[in-house]
Every structure is written in structure tokens, then in C-alpha cells.
């Protein structure tokens, strides 16, 4: 599903590579935690998968796409099959919950009909049925992240990329979000999640990939957060 082959990423403005000769594979339906200290290259790895950045060398594959070599005009097609959520939710403050979810469908050219059926489905999936007309400012952090997840899933992506999705949430709310992500993963969506949250990683006992200064430091099939340090 996802594959990195000897990927190195050197940002033009820095001397140390953000990713240094990283190779890894993620199968369809896996749940992968991406951990490592700040600056170790977690976000960079996710950005390469989304083709927000191109690798300095090496290859990146997502499903059948050779991501690094993809023509610019094909990038939207790739991104439509990849959902992503972030620490800061990135909702549009001037649109309701339902409109935020509909937005992802609208700007990828889905029909009115599709939008009318998919939006309620997504709201139900993330447990926000009654709050479709709320504005983002009227939501708790956990609710906002649920809306972001609903939006990320609206186009039925193959992979969900999450960059510290619980970074702004209290432990209890984080657990709820993790339950949701686990449920989504069990329904078949591959999930890659970058996190600093030791508790979550230890509780879930899923695959753990650790980066250290841009290098792959560890890859455990059912890992915990602090094993190697």
C-alpha cells in the first residue's frame, strides 16, 4: 500500500537531512504509529506521502502511484485517495460542521446527490449526528477532530494519515479519538499516525516505527513507545 525506498529528504535551508535513507513498507489495512523526538522527520515523511514535498532521492509509492514522479496534474487524484488530519484540525471557521465535510466532496467534483448521502453517513460514523449545523467555534477539541476525521474520510481514502491528531486533546478525549481511528482501521482503512503520546502507543500495541534524526531507528510489529530508550 505504502512504500518508501531509500528515501532522503534534504530541505534546501538545512544541512542535516530531515529523512536519511529511510525504507519501509506498509500493507493494506495496517495501523502504524510513527514516533520519535521532535524534529526526527515524522511530519516530513507524511508530507512526502502526500506529495506536499518531493524526496531529494529515493522512491515513494502509494498504491500504484510513483508519488515522487507523479505529474503535477495527477497529484489531486492521489490526494483524493489519502485522507489526512492534523493537530490543529484545520476546519473552515465560517462553515458549519456539515458544510466542512461537504467541502471535501464539493471541491473534488462530487454530485449534489453524493454529498447529500455521504455527509450524514460520515457524521454518524464519527458520532456527531446531532451537531451538523454547529459552527467549528461551538465545538470541543474532540468534536472538532471528529469533524476533521469525517472530512478526511468523505472521499473514501485508501489511507488515513494523522499528524499528532491527539496533540491538542486531553487524555480522555484522546482515547475517544483513538477508539474512532481504531474502528476506522478495522473497517479496512490503512492508518499512519505520527504521535508523541506514550500512553496511546503503549495502550494500542500496534506497529511502531521510530525515527531518530531522520533515520529509521526501530520498526516493531506490536511495539510500545519507549522500548529502545
Amino acid at each position: 500500500m505504502l512504500r518508501l525506498e531509500n528515501v532522503t529528504k534534504l530541505y534546501p535551508t538545512s544541512v542535516r537531512p530531515a529523512l536519511d535513507d529511510v525504507s519501509m513498507d506498509v500493507d493494506r489495512g495496517e495501523f502504524v504509529f510513527l514516533i520519535g523526538p521532535s524534529g526526527s522527520g515524522k511530519s516530513t515523511l507524511l508530507r512526502l506521502l502526500l506529495r506536499e514535498e518531493a524526496p531529494s532521492s529515493g522512491n515513494v509509492f502509494v498504491a500504484n502511484w510513483n508519488v515522487a514522479r507523479l505529474a503535477n496534474r495527477k497529484v489531486p487524484k492521489l490526494r483524493q485517495r489519502m485522507g489526512c488530519v492534523f493537530q490543529d484540525f484545520r476546519l473552515l471557521g465560517n462553515r458549519t460542521v456539515a458544510e466542512n465535510i461537504a467541502f471535501a466532496l464539493e471541491v473534488t467534483g462530487k454530485s449534489e446527490h453524493t454529498i447529500r448521502t455521504v455527509v450524514p453517513e460520515m457524521l454518524e460514523l464519527v458520532g456527531l449526528d446531532g451537531k451538523s449545523e454547529r459552527m467549528p467555534a461551538e465545538l470541543s477539541g474532540g468534536e472538532a477532530q471528529r469533524v476533521a476525521i469525517a472530512r478526511a474520510l468523505a472521499n473514501r481514502p485508501l489511507v488515513l494519515l494523522a499528524d499528532e491528531p491527539t496533540g491538542n486533546l486531553d487524555p480522555e478525549t484522546s482515547d475517544d479519538i483513538m477508539l474512532l481511528l481504531d474502528r476506522i482501521n478495522r473497517a479496512g482503512t490503512t492508518v499512519v499516525m505520527a504521535t508523541h503520546d506514550r500512553q496511546i502507543v503503549d495502550a494500542m500495541r500496534r506497529r511502531v516505527v521510530e525515527l531518530h534524526l531522520g533515520k529509521l531507528a526501530r520498526d516493531d510489529a506490536r511495539g510500545v513507545y519507549g522500548a529502545s530508550r
Binding site: 484545520r90 473552515l92 471535501a104
Partner: protein
């Protein structure tokens, strides 16, 4: 198509979001296009006037009294000699003879019913050799060559007589085009700036669009439509301005006794059928090009 609806809504929202700037942008565009239109009307008037005159304009070689008197078909030796010399001249393409009698008849036709007729008798009109120069702009050479020849009273280049008029019209045209291009530059910069501001205002939205896989149609075309709307609305306002200008300025100016015979009127159809479509096309094209370049240079897609 749903995409079309989205793009339109976003473009209109963009224009509404910063009304002050949108109005400035539209007005500047309108003034620029209005000046361009005025220049085009001047060009059209010049062409018309030239068509009207140039076919009839000739170098008139007027013959003196002895040569003019009683010669119905240029049979006197002086006249024949002059005519042959003119026909052999490399600058000349055709020569025709108008006798004093024919001149008088023409005079009677042109000024039929006017009091000037009572003052003119056949004897006061010269016979003329009407010379069509090969190159209408070289009439001066003919004037220089044939003035003072035996049998010649004077030589007049009719084109030189109306040249002042054309010079005036041409300067109107140049001034209009000059101002139009300065104003167009202002319009370009304003459109470009507005798009940059608009893109900055919507950066979160566009960022999310890119993330969920929206194509450039969704991320960029709204900005282009904003620009196109500006261009088209500007062109419509400019056309309105030209119509008012025609009704309240040009029509009055050209209705003066002297000028009305010399310059053909600017028709409403010139404004609406010739200039207006051009302004719409030029306005839309320039705005689109500006928008496209701005997006390329300043806005990540």
C-alpha cells in the same frame, strides 16, 4: 456541472469580500477601456474620412486665363504639352481635363439654390488638369514641379488642405491610446494586487482544497473568474461612458456647421457593434492574462 457553480460562487464571494478594492479595480479597468474605445473610434473616423476624401483628392493643376478660355478638350498647344508632360511623369497615375464650362456645371450642381451662385460666372473659374498621383502622399513633389510652368495659374494638393484635419484626429487617437495604456497598467497592477490579497485571504480554504485533492479548476479558476468579471464589467461601464460621450460631446462637436460636412458622424453602431465587443474581449483577455500570470508568480497552486 457542480464545479461551475462552486467556482462562480467563490468568485462572487471574492469580489464582495473586498468591495472597495473591487470597485477601484473595475473603475480603473473601465477608464482604461473607455480611453481605448475612444482611440478606436478616432481611428475609425480617420479611416472613414480618408475613404471619403482620398478617392476624390487630386493635385489640381489650374490653368491660367488664356489657356482656360474657350478650350473644351485641352486642344491648345500649351494644354496638350502640359498634359503629355504629366502623363509621362513617373509620379502620376492618371490625368483628366476639366474645362471651364464643365467646372461651372459642377459648381452649379454643388451649390444649387445657394446665393453664392450669383457671384460666380464661368469666366471666374479656371480649367484644370486633375492629376491623380501614384502615391497620394507625394503630392507636394508635383506641386513643386508644376508651379510656375507656362500656362499654369497654380497647383493645389487637395490632400494637403485636409491634412490638418487628419493630424488633429491622429493626435486625438494618440492621446487616447497613450492614456489608455497608462491606465491599463494601473488596472493590471490593481487586478494583480487584488488577486494576491484575495488568495491570501483564502489561503486556509485553498490549503484545505489542495489537501483533499481539489484540482486547479477549484483552487485557481475562482480567482481568474474574479479577474474576468472585472474585465467584462469594466468593458460594459466603458461602453456606457462612450455612449454618453457620443451623445453629449461628440455629436455636439460634430454638429457644428463647418465640421459636420468634413467629418462623418460617429454612429451609435460604431460604439455598440464595433467598439463594445472589442472592449469586452480585450478587457476579459487582459484580466485573465493578468490573473494567470499573478497566480503563476505569486500563488502556490
Amino acid at each position: 456541472m457542480n464545479g461551475l457553480g462552486f467556482v462562480w460562487r467563490e468568485a462572487l464571494a471574492g469580489l464582495r469580500r473586498n468591495v472597495t478594492m473591487s470597485v477601484a479595480m473595475v473603475l480603473t479597468t473601465a477608464i482604461s477601456l473607455g480611453l481605448l474605445g475612444a482611440g478606436l473610434l478616432a481611428v475609425r473616423t480617420i479611416d472613414r474620412t480618408q475613404d471619403l476624401y482620398y478617392s476624390q483628392l487630386a493635385v489640381q493643376v489650374a490653368l491660367d486665363e488664356p489657356t482656360s478660355a474657350g478650350d473644351a478638350n485641352c486642344s491648345s498647344p500649351t494644354c496638350t504639352g502640359l498634359r503629355e508632360q504629366l502623363q509621362g511623369d513617373p509620379l502620376v497615375s492618371a490625368v483628366s481635363y476639366e474645362s471651364r464650362d464643365q467646372a461651372y456645371q459642377r459648381f452649379l450642381r454643388i451649390y444649387a439654390g445657394q446665393s453664392i451662385l450669383q457671384l460666380v460666372r464661368p469666366q471666374s473659374l479656371p480649367a484644370t488638369l486633375r492629376v491623380t498621383p501614384k502615391d497620394p502622399t507625394r503630392g507636394d513633389a508635383l506641386v513643386a514641379e508644376y508651379t510656375g510652368k507656362p500656362g499654369v495659374r497654380n497647383v493645389v494638393d487637395q490632400r494637403a488642405l485636409v491634412q490638418d484635419l487628419f493630424t488633429f484626429l491622429a493626435s486625438v487617437r494618440n492621446a487616447a491610446f497613450g492614456l489608455a495604456s497608462i491606465q491599463a497598467l494601473a488596472a493590471l497592477l490593481l487586478i494583480s494586487n487584488t488577486i494576491q490579497v484575495s488568495a491570501f485571504t483564502r489561503r486556509t480554504e485553498v490549503g484545505i482544497m489542495r489537501l483533499v485533492g481539489a484540482t486547479r479548476w477549484y483552487t485557481q479558476v475562482p480567482f481568474l473568474i474574479e479577474a474576468v468579471i472585472t474585465g467584462v464589467v469594466g468593458a460594459v461601464l466603458a461602453t456606457g461612458g462612450l455612449v454618453l460621450g457620443k451623445l453629449f460631446f461628440i455629436d455636439r462637436l460634430l454638429s457644428g456647421r463647418l465640421i459636420s460636412n468634413a467629418i462623418p458622424a460617429v454612429g451609435m453602431s460604431d460604439v455598440l457593434l464595433f467598439v463594445a465587443p472589442l472592449l469586452v474581449v480585450v478587457g476579459a483577455a487582459i484580466a485573465t492574462a493578468t490573473g494567470y500570470v499573478t497566480l503563476r508568480l505569486y500563488v502556490r497552486n
